[in-house]
């Protein structure tokens, strides 16, 4: 009966630990949230199922080629695109091909709100440093506050691949929880009066402006922060494919099959990278805490900066400071949150289009921030 013994030795039951069970429960919870609560299902289903895949217990390091960290396994090959930072730019390509920057172009001063909210990244970076993380790890943890999954994955893959799983999961979790995290902070920092401010309707935007935006956007942002090139280059490339009007077929492919394929592979492998034996550490828990802090600081930063801008704007041009909260990005959830809150205060106040402007500029802002952090930390000089 040696054979049965040997076999039992290899089963999941024999190799199971509490860690595996906890992570399996987490995976099931993600899938539950996605299906039942409809929180980001296109990401949480792949990530949740990936967590299951990554935490089926098996005997490691005997050449079975199953685990995501084992050479020769399928998951390991597919994980390559995460580890080398290839998937995030491809996702940005697709996002660019489906994003309309009109709201931003029609009221470009709202762009500053997208910059202001990045304060979450930098303050969290400092806190992480103070807590003893290395400078590279701290930067990767801070970027959670950028509220952009692909940006967070890209930066961690470059600076702190050992934390990639935790950072990615934290980023996507909080992005799904934006409707829970942001409202209390917004309320705390604004008066009822401010929340009722109505903004002038945005101007219509011409085709030419929409065509020029990705080109100008690329040149200005990447001249200042060349490190943002992989992300912003692809984002603006996708957007030009969409807005040029002559490459519809390419824009369609970038924004449908291409981004879907990459999303499936990225979600699944990011989920699977949370293999209990390497994932369940005090560091991971700390990263989750820091991520939440980062989101809150970012929200506050956006709101407060909007109030600050109001000091310089004449009556009638004043901003509803709530839209500052949309500067964290988490497109378009945070814009929707702001919109809902606006409607609650005054059922005739439609803030959605105004909130979309800081929302998309927050994407650019956190990519620029990622580029700067890479510039400071990645160099081998």
């Amino acid at each position: 009966m040696g054979g049965i013994d040997q076999f039992i030795h290899f089963t999941g039951f024999a190799n199971m630990t509490w860690g595996h069970l906890i992570m399996l429960a987490v995976g099931l919870f993600f899938i539950f949230l996605a299906i039942k609560k409809n929180y980001e299902p296109l990401l949480l289903v792949p990530i949740g199922f990936g967590i299951l895949l990554g935490n089926i217990p098996f005997m490691e390091n005997v050449g079975l080629q199953i685990g995501i960290y084992e050479d020769g396994s399928v998951l390991n090959y597919l994980y390559f695109g995460v580890l080398k930072g290839i998937y995030p730019p491809l996702i940005f390509l697709g996002i660019g091909a489906m994003t309309d920057f009109s709201a931003l172009i029609s009221n470009p001063k709202l762009m500053l709100l997208g910059a202001a909210a990045q304060v979450g990244i930098f303050l969290t970076f400092l806190v992480a440093l103070a807590l003893g993380f290395t400078v590279d790890q701290s930067a990767a943890i801070g970027i959670i506050g950028g509220a952009d999954g692909p940006t967070a994955i890209f930066l961690s893959s470059k600076l702190a691949p050992e934390l990639l799983g935790a950072i990615a999961i934290a980023a996507y979790s909080y992005m799904a929880l934006v409707p829970v995290i942001q409202p209390p902070i917004i309320k705390l920092l604004t008066s009822e009066e401010e929340r009722k401010i109505k903004m002038k309707p945005p101007r219509a935007v011409t085709k030419l402006e929409k065509m020029l935006f990705p080109i100008v956007g690329l040149l200005l942002t990447t001249f200042i922060s060349p490190g943002a090139l992989p992300l912003l280059g692809m984002l603006f490339f996708g957007n030009l494919l969409k807005e040029s009007g002559v490459t519809k077929r390419l824009a369609d492919t970038a924004s449908k099959p291409l981004i879907d394929i990459v999303t499936i592979l990225l979600g699944l492998t990011v989920g699977a990278s949370t293999q209990a034996t390497t994932f369940l550490t005090s560091e991971s828990i700390l990263i989750f805490v820091l991520g939440a802090v980062s989101f809150m600081i970012a929200t506050a930063g956006g709101v407060l900066f909007a109030k600050f801008m109001n000091l310089f704007l004449k009556e009638g041009d004043k901003l509803n400071p709530m839209i500052g909260a949309a500067g964290v990005s988490a497109v378009p959830d945070s814009a929707r949150v702001v919109h809902s809150m606006g409607l609650k205060e005054d059922p005739s106040n439609y803030l959605l289009m105004h909130a979309m402007a800081p929302n998309v500029s927050g994407v650019i802002g956190s990519a620029v921030a990622a580029g700067i952090l890479m510039g400071f930390l990645l160099k081998v000089l």
Binding site: G2, A103, A147, M175, A204, V331, P332
Partner: protein, 119 residues
């Protein structure tokens, strides 16, 4: 090399062991799945029946809640027909398509962004 049956090669490589254990495990895996699903269904059917009873439905008393034989047969027939004709006529129909909304993996609800109102 392949001139004759060499049972020794089986023995040396634990062939019998692998075969027996392997086949048993395949059975075990699918048996587990069977047992789990069958029991899960019982619970589910129980709940369903209870719900129907609460609402006063007569169907609750029926022995099984399966679809009727006639319906099933009709469906199977239709399926079979389709199988058979599949290669010849690839029927052309006016499609009623579901409108799909774009999405973004930085947040999967980026619906409104693609076709922003221009005027």
């Amino acid at each position: 090399m392949f001139d004759q049956f060499s049972f020794s090669n089986i023995v040396e490589n634990d062939g019998i062991l692998i075969t027996v254990v392997g086949y048993v495990i395949v059975f075990a895996a699918l048996l587990f799945l069977y047992v789990f699903i069958a029991n899960f269904q019982k619970i589910l059917l129980f709940q369903q029946r209870k719900k129907l009873k609460d609402k006063g439905h007569r169907a609750a008393d029926v022995d099984d809640l399966s679809i009727s034989g006639e319906t099933s047969a009709a469906i199977a027939m239709a399926l079979y027909m389709e199988f058979e004709e599949a290669h010849d006529l690839e029927s052309t129909v006016l499609t009623i398509k579901r409108v799909q909304r774009p999405y973004s993996p930085w947040s999967s609800k980026l619906y409104g962004l693609r076709e922003y109102p221009k005027r």
